[in-house]
């Protein structure tokens, strides 16, 4: 077992609102290891994107990181100076966003934007940087890079924009890649191509990734391990095969069951809605929607418990439910 590249411990990010302080990320812990993709799954508002922004120290105001550690090469990113974190960002740790169009600068060519990263972090001169940018565009699968290098973002398709953004993210050979819904805005055939690209980038070097997605299919396809988030906290963490074979948390089970099954015109819904973070239920956050909630579930919040790599935040986790899943 290799040491993790990046370790998140008890990360808590809060926002002050009129209704009081809400915790968008509440005590989240996980580790990103070399050569692996960690999937972070959950529905909108569960805190998965805010987790990535917290790691990068890019939490938008009025949000702030309240507690926790983000350890990278033995240093805590959350306590280091602004200059230090800035030199790591985009260099050793980089991020790919969902909407490539809004992440790219519309008034600079793709080549300029990739070269900029290399000039800032690698100190290359203009010509060297452009040469390297062209090589990177080729690496991420942009056809005819010598010509496309002078294209502006609006001249490219969504898939090509996302490739350019990935080229920027990996320009400095980062050790950690944070990808926030990198394929959600893309069509399914292009999504498959981008996922293959992310996989290739992770397997080729000393690099690990956090892949944030709402799509369990994407997780099943590329992730090695998975954290499932619900209402700000991690409710289950497991190797990907285990998670699908034997999900432990009733929310994970519900998510897997809510995927359409071929040849069957019935859809298994999780009743109710995701709770308002400003008005969380007492006890387990999932208990109002949980089919097996007991009295204790509304009184105490369960711990994220289990053996290494296989953690569930539930008083009644279990196999018997996985067996039921197959019966239904």
């Amino acid at each position: 077992m290799t040491a993790p590249l990046l370790e998140v411990r008890g990360l808590t990010t809060a926002f002050r609102t009129e209704e009081g302080e809400i915790r968008a990320v509440d005590g989240v812990s996980f580790a990103i290891t070399s050569g692996k993709i960690l999937g972070l799954v959950g529905e909108s508002g569960c805190g998965k994107s805010m987790t990535a922004l917290s790691i990068m120290r890019l939490v938008p105001p009025p949000g702030r990181i309240v507690s926790g550690q983000v350890l990278f090469r033995g240093r805590d990113l959350l306590t280091m100076g602004e200059a230090d974190i800035r030199s790591l960002r985009g260099d050793r740790i980089s991020m790919v966003f969902q909407e490539p169009m809004s992440a790219l600068n519309p008034v600079f060519s793709i080549g300029d934007q990739v070269a900029e990263v290399l000039r800032v972090h690698r100190g290359l001169d203009g010509k060297e940087a452009m040469g390297e940018a062209e090589r990177l565009l080729e690496r991420v699968g942009i056809p005819d890079p010598a010509r496309r290098i002078s294209d502006y973002p609006h001249q490219m398709s969504g898939g090509m924009q996302q490739r350019a953004l990935i080229a920027m993210a990996v320009a400095c050979e980062p050790e950690v890649l944070l990808a926030d819904e990198p394929t959600t805005a893309l069509d399914v055939t292009v999504q498959a191509q981008i996922l293959r690209l992310v996989e290739a980038l992770i397997s080729e070097g000393e690099r690990g990734a956090l892949l944030i997605t709402h799509d369990l299919g994407v997780v099943a396809e590329v992730a090695d391990a998975v954290c499932v988030m619900y209402a700000g906290s991690v409710v289950e963490a497991a190797p990907v095969q285990d998670l699908f074979d034997d999900p432990g948390h009733p929310y994970t089970i519900g998510l897997i069951q809510s995927l359409p099954t071929p040849g069957r015109r019935s859809f298994h819904a999780i009743p109710g809605n995701v709770p308002d973070l400003a008005d969380l239920p007492a006890g387990c956050r999932f208990h109002p929607r949980c089919p097996r909630a007991q009295k204790i579930c509304s009184e105490r919040e369960p711990d994220l418990d289990g053996t290494a790599g296989r953690l569930v935040r539930c008083f009644y986790p279990g196999r018997e439910h996985a067996a039921m899943k197959r019966m239904i």
Partner: protein
């Protein structure tokens, strides 16, 4: 015995003019929908799938008469409706309804839910009088809580807002419901709630449905038959299970192959279709898919393949298969 058909689309096309120059002269056209023909049987759920820009939404708008067709015909229950004016269209409007992807943008934020849902009824009856009993009933039917009629759209969650949209569409008891990406904006756990509701309502109201979606998993589970569109053209039609398990058109095959399967044990290593969909403003000649097709032959570069019967109700537009 074949079911009688409710909707027939014949050679439907839509060309959006492209203007250029200082005087806004029409310099060209984007063929968003290109000679599309298919039928939907009574009681059927017909799925139309394709990636963004394939023309599926434009096609839906033309079928409902919300967008004039450039050419071709739409026949609804025996009547041609393509050439009707507003007044002539009115009786058909109440029989054909639509639900949209964005439940927020399609609901007026300043009106109560009761007013939004009751509006089609008031318009159809051309009376200003309120229709609370019918509104209450339909709101109950779509699973909204008691007292919803007096509240405003922003007080509801995304899933509940889609229920409001469905209530508004169904209050006139239509025969045909066009659902344009109705669950795409919703979270997975909520999607299932809305899909379950649609399946239930289809039976209860004897609806015929056309379900437009880019989500191939949902379409497979929900639909009886499925059409696949690529760059404005219909490239394949078939029974859902048949089409998914034995795709005929190489594009259908690429699409299905690209669906991420929620099963880590069957990971794929291939990339599926190479490249991306060309711009609709400059589609390739011949078969639109030839630029990405692994099976292309010379003929595909210049000759448009016709959508031809392949047995058991299957249609495909491919020179090779």
């Amino acid at each position: 015995m074949p079911l009688p058909e409710l909707l027939t689309v014949e050679g439907l096309s839509k060309v959006f003019p492209v203007k250029g120059g200082v005087f806004g002269k029409i310099v060209g056209g984007i063929r968003a929908v290109d000679d599309v023909s298919f039928r939907i049987m009574k009681g059927e759920v017909f799925g139309m799938v394709g990636e963004s820009g394939c023309g599926k939404t434009t096609l839906g708008r033309m079928i409902l008469g919300l967008l004039p067709a450039s050419s071709g015909r739409v026949i609804f229950d025996g009547d041609e409706i393509t050439s009707l004016d507003r007044a002539e269209m009115r009786p058909f409007r109440r029989r054909m309804q639509i639900i949209f992807q964005d439940p927020v943008g399609s609901l007026n934020p300043r009106k109560t839910v009761g007013s939004i849902v009751g509006e089609p009824l008031r318009v159809a009856r051309r009376s200003g009088e309120s229709v609370p009993a019918e509104v209450e009933e339909i709101l109950r039917t779509v699973g909204l809580p008691e007292g919803s009629a007096h509240r405003y759209p922003h007080e509801f969650s995304g899933g509940q807002r889609q229920r409001i949209g469905i209530a508004r569409a169904l209050i006139l008891r239509p025969d045909f419901l066009l659902a344009d990406e109705p669950v795409s904006a919703l979270d997975v756990s909520i999607q299932a709630q809305i899909l379950t509701l649609l399946v239930d309502l289809k039976t209860r109201f004897s609806l015929t449905m056309m379900f437009i979606s880019h989500d191939l998993r949902v379409v497979r589970s929900l639909c009886d038959r499925v059409g696949v569109m690529y760059l404005g053209r219909l490239v394949e039609v078939g029974a859902a299970e048949e089409l998914y398990s034995r795709p005929m058109h190489p594009y259908t095959e690429a699409l299905i192959e690209a669906i991420p399967e929620p099963d880590p044990s069957i990971r794929r290593r291939s990339e599926g279709a190479e490249g991306e969909m060309p711009s609709p403003s400059d589609p390739p000649p011949g078969c639109h898919f030839h630029t990405r097709c692994p099976l292309r032959i010379d003929r595909c570069f210049h000759e448009i393949p016709a959508l031809t019967p392949r047995g058991e109700g299957r249609l495909a537009a491919c020179h090779v298969r």
